[in-house]
Point group: C2
Chain length 310, copies 2
């Protein structure tokens, strides 16, 4: 059994590779719900859905969000009714959110709704939200405290950040199965996601960080930072704005209390001695997931030092 | 000031004609919400919307429901997620319902939501739901008690009916402005709608029937029954199944306590003496609304005996 901690598109691409080398029924994904939000009266779980869509093979991989070939007729009609529609939800994507919202309004938990959507998309792996309780990532900026999507989508992550908070995290409980999936796993992998706003919210749910430290399984993380930059997203900028170094080594430091192995890119091979000196095992490999073969190779590289031979 | 009681598509077509001869700001429409329903987690007001769409010029007039040229991508995606999708909501139509649902969930009343949607569609007339309280038309059949849309759409009104009830009607209050619109009107017109399930629910809201009897304005109704049949819908069959005669005269009898003038079709000219003998004034005219000119002519024919000269 493999358990993966996942944020958005980087995680989704990594998990595609993972499912090339492990069976769906052997994989549990713990997904970030800190960027969940309400738009158009619907409960949107952007990170959960981008993972689901990628694994179901329906994601718009080029755009990095939503469903391939989706249309935007509902949003166009909402715009005509006076709505701000900068948060883009295609018609098919919106159907997922309608489904989730209906289930939640009927009293089902986010876990149950997520499982039902995953089943509807034909997935065999288990996808767990980090918590059934609301946790909301907020970005503190000079312009005030912004909802995560306001910062990330509307302002294109272009406002310097001063702090990141996870509203509700202190009172949140891990979703059913999350702690067990970490404690009982044969291996745990943290996907190449933004450590501050994708993995950060998961780690902020009381009990999850402790479970990662205590699990008998070895824990690996794939650094989303490559050569001091990123493939996609603002992780490097956010790290610097938060006073960190934007480096693979810094990713290792953020996870130091529970991490055994850090997977870094060839471009960062020179960081190896320093990271090893901090007590981490290091795997240097090609982490740029250009195609499915590269994704599968990266998954293998991440799993092999964990003692599971896929 | 003209006040019109309205059901679905027949009313919508009649109201298009009415707006050819009176100004929007002089018209108040009291709309049936007995067929409101929840589908896909959304609050749907079929009769309200068909009226709004016709008056906004966006209705699919040929099909008789929804928006012209609408697509069904959300519904297709919901079907893929396992939903029954016999209640067809196009993508743009669904945006209206999303908007209404969001407003209601935020604590706005159905009146407020309806007004906001009407404004969004550019309408100048006032559209009032008959009540802000839930009233649900139920059809008692040999197969059990059916929700109205289950009877009307899913079973194509093909199940013989035994009774009609309006759940919640006894506790419902007329929406703000409804009684005033009837009492203070210069003329009141009941549109050519099914008297049992389109106008019936409006009349079942305590106070509305009394206001129609007491208003100083004269009240006319356009018979939806022509030559013992109907242009569209199951009104004739329902009347017979409920033990009534399917005739224009019967429509007059159902409204006798508040009606002054009954507008009947040329095909029913021979009914005139009997209807007049029952104490009603009768106007015989062409009630088949083939085009906008015919619709306007019918509106004029309905208004002229009411003492308002459009």
């Amino acid at each position: 059994m493999i358990t993966a901690l996942a944020g958005g598109v980087g995680a989704a691409r990594f998990l595609q590779g993972l499912l090339q080398v492990v069976r769906g029924e052997d994989l549990t994904i713990v997904s970030n719900t800190g960027d969940d939000c309400e738009f158009y009266g619907l409960h949107v779980s952007p990170d959960v859905d981008i993972v689901l869509y990628h694994l179901a093979g329906v994601a718009d991989e080029e755009r990095g969000w939503g469903i391939r070939g989706d249309t935007f007729h509902v949003l166009d009609a909402l715009a005509a009714l006076g709505y701000e529609t900068w948060f883009r939800l295609g018609d098919r994507d919106l159907a997922t959110c309608l489904h989730r919202t209906r289930l939640l309004r009927e009293g089902r938990t986010l876990s149950e709704a997520t499982a039902e959507i995953a089943r509807g998309l034909g997935l065999e792996c288990t996808v767990l939200p980090m918590s059934d309780d609301p946790v909301r990532t907020k970005i503190v900026t000079g312009e005030g405290v912004l909802d995560f999507q306001d910062y990330f989508v509307k302002r294109a992550a272009a406002v310097p950040i001063q702090d990141i908070t996870f509203d509700g995290a202190k009172r949140a409980r891990p979703a059913p199965g999350v702690l067990e999936a970490i404690r009982d796993a044969d291996a745990v992998v943290v996907a190449p996601s933004n450590p501050l706003v994708s993995v950060g919210p998961i780690l902020a749910v009381p009990g999850i960080r402790e479970a990662l430290s205590e699990t008998a399984a070895r824990v690996a993380a794939v650094s989303p930072i490559v050569g001091g930059g990123v493939i996609k997203g603002p992780a490097d900028r956010m790290l610097r704005e938060m006073g960190h170094e934007a480096s693979a080594a810094q990713v290792g430091r953020l996870y130091r209390d529970f991490l055994d192995v850090l997977i870094i890119d060839q471009a960062d091979a020179d960081l190896r001695p320093d990271i090893e000196a901090s007590g981490l095992e290091v795997v240097v490999t090609d982490t740029i997931m250009r195609d499915m073969e590269k994704k599968a190779a990266l998954a293998r590289a991440a799993l092999s030092p964990l003692g599971v031979a896929p």
